[in-house]
């Protein structure tokens, strides 16, 4: 078909449209490649190397590199560099690699300062602007000449106000000679590199934190073993000596000796109870406690605990009121551990209430049973509320009132209740008192 002026115009217009699509396609293909690299590798150094190798090869660049920025040291630390064969040959001859040269005193280098601190794009034809004072001028000249480096582009890699590093691209041509594809790709992949690096560093931080945690858990395991076998063993041993003394095994005791034996026994019991509390919390945390779930009446447990604690409350002159209707309060739970939790809460209320009363309530809601224990104690400050149910979370005032506070009581309650698919929380006002609520699913 003979080509008319009109068909020629149409062909040219179609070509231009295809060209636009081809540029976008190429850019997308490069970004896809970089994305694949960023998800297949997690170590920041390896990932950075793969990314800049890809960029250098696809854009026919002399070198590409990524620096990490250390704000504390005001330095750019090379993370990865990719170089053309001829640049590698030159550098081998000169006896150094860019990767081994840390750029110090960034603030004193006007060109780099603009990129790092002002987060502005930088372009230069002088290698001295980057490596002055670090590489001999004659070596820089040789690199430039033998590798035909005409232009060096530098892009800040930043997220928000944070600067992660700098991307450096070495070209054997002028910036103006870059094609539309190359220019648009550079802008896009700078963002991809920033995000990928950020992700890689987050992953690395997470991995380091995980390693530390494993180490801490190992230490904790060994400490738990030590406490269980040695410390608790020592307490138990002296407890039986004091008990035997009081039983008269070693003959009649003078009143002074008897008083000391009673104090010793009490002190050993506190020690053993504390160790049990900490060890139980540790076992609950590890998930090594097997709960024997059966239908239990929460009312029976609460009444038994109140009966056991009656003497303790009366000794302090505290009145204990019950707000419990005659009904069944059935929950699915391990009676032993639920009793431990309730015992802990009642014990706490008695310890932290100097005068007044304690009101214990049980209520049936839709699908749940709500246990509450309200006291007229010292209350909890807002600051202490944050640590209330956390491991070792002792409030400032609580230590003043109860010197034996371990910080494991309420934490254990939380672990027990949550293991029973319930929840526990507190409402409190300083100097007015505290109410602790426990909600458990109704059976």
């Amino acid at each position: 078909m003979p080509e008319t002026e009109e068909t020629k115009k149409i062909t040219e217009a179609l070509y231009e449209q295809n060209l636009e699509l081809a540029v976008k396609n190429k850019t997308l293909a490069l970004l896809e490649k970089l994305y694949q690299k960023s998800i297949s590798v997690l170590a920041p150094g390896v990932m950075a190397q793969e990314i800049i190798d890809t960029i250098r090869e696809d854009l026919n660049l002399e070198f590409t590199g990524i620096f990490n920025f250390s704000s504390g040291a005001d330095s750019l630390i090379p993370l990865a560099f990719s170089k053309s064969d001829r640049l590698i040959q030159t550098l081998n001859k000169l006896g150094f690699l860019f990767l081994d040269i840390k750029i110090t005193d960034v603030k004193k280098r006007d060109f780099l300062k603009k990129i790092v601190y002002d987060k502005k794009f930088g372009m230069t034809d002088k290698l001295e602007e980057i490596w002055a004072g670090l590489i001999k001028p004659k070596h820089l000249q040789e690199i430039k000449k033998s590798s035909h480096i005409k232009t060096i582009l530098l892009y800040p890699l930043s997220i928000g106000d944070d600067i992660l590093g700098v991307l450096i691209l070495g070209l054997n041509r002028d910036y103006q000679a870059l094609s539309a594809f190359e220019k648009s790709s550079i802008v896009s992949f700078t963002n991809v590199i920033t995000l990928s690096l950020n992700k890689a560093y987050l992953y690395k931080d997470l991995q380091d934190a995980n390693e530390n945690l494993k180490e801490l858990l190992k230490q904790r395991e060994s400490l738990t073993h030590l406490i269980n076998h040695k410390v608790k063993g020592a307490f138990t041993h002296s407890k039986y000596i004091f008990a035997e003394m009081l039983e008269g095994t070693f003959g009649a005791l003078s009143p002074e000796l008897k008083r000391m034996a009673v104090n010793g026994l009490e002190s050993d019991n506190i020690g053993i109870n504390t160790i049990d509390l900490v060890l139980n919390a540790s076992n609950m945390q590890k998930g090594t406690i097997k709960y024997d779930l059966k239908e239990v009446d929460l009312k029976d447990i609460v009444l038994k605990v109140l009966s056991d604690k009656k003497i303790q409350a009366e000794a302090k002159g505290l009145k204990v009121e019950k707000n419990i209707k005659t009904d069944k309060y059935r929950v699915l739970g391990d009676a032993y551990w639920i009793k431990e939790a309730i015992n802990n809460l009642v014990d706490n209320s008695i310890k932290y209430t100097m005068k007044g009363k304690i009101i214990v309530g049980l209520k049936k809601n839709a699908g749940e049973i709500l246990f509450s224990i309200k006291d007229t104690g010292i209350g909890i400050t807002d600051e202490d509320k944050k640590n209330l149910f956390t491991e070792g979370g002792r409030g400032k005032d609580s230590v003043r009132v109860n010197t034996d506070s371990t910080g494991y009581g309420l934490y254990s309650v939380k672990l027990i209740i949550e293991a029973h698919r319930g929840k526990v929380w507190a409402e409190s006002e300083v100097n007015k008192g505290t109410t602790i609520f426990v909600e458990l699913p109704l059976k």
Binding site: K8, E12, Y15, E16, A22, N172, A180
Partner: protein, 95 residues
Amino acid sequence: MNFAIQLTKIPIRIIKEQELVIGPLAWYEAGKVQGLKIDKSHSSVSFSGDGKETINLLVAQFERLFGRASREVCRDAVQDIIAEMSPEEIPSSLK
């Protein structure tokens, strides 16, 4: 790098870049250029005459069919190669 080697890299770079825009037609049209021999694997070329002139013919072949934009594509595709050639070594169509 050797001038002759540099020159033989140019047609492949140009045709591959045109292929991204117009598809296999790029190889078909390049095949019509006198003095340009393309190997079957599309990885290298040789010239039977003056290399610079053959490259000018190749660029002209695309420009005749697709206009001025195609000439720019040819130039952009080889910027890193011609950057290292002396002005007299560069085919006039790529200057």
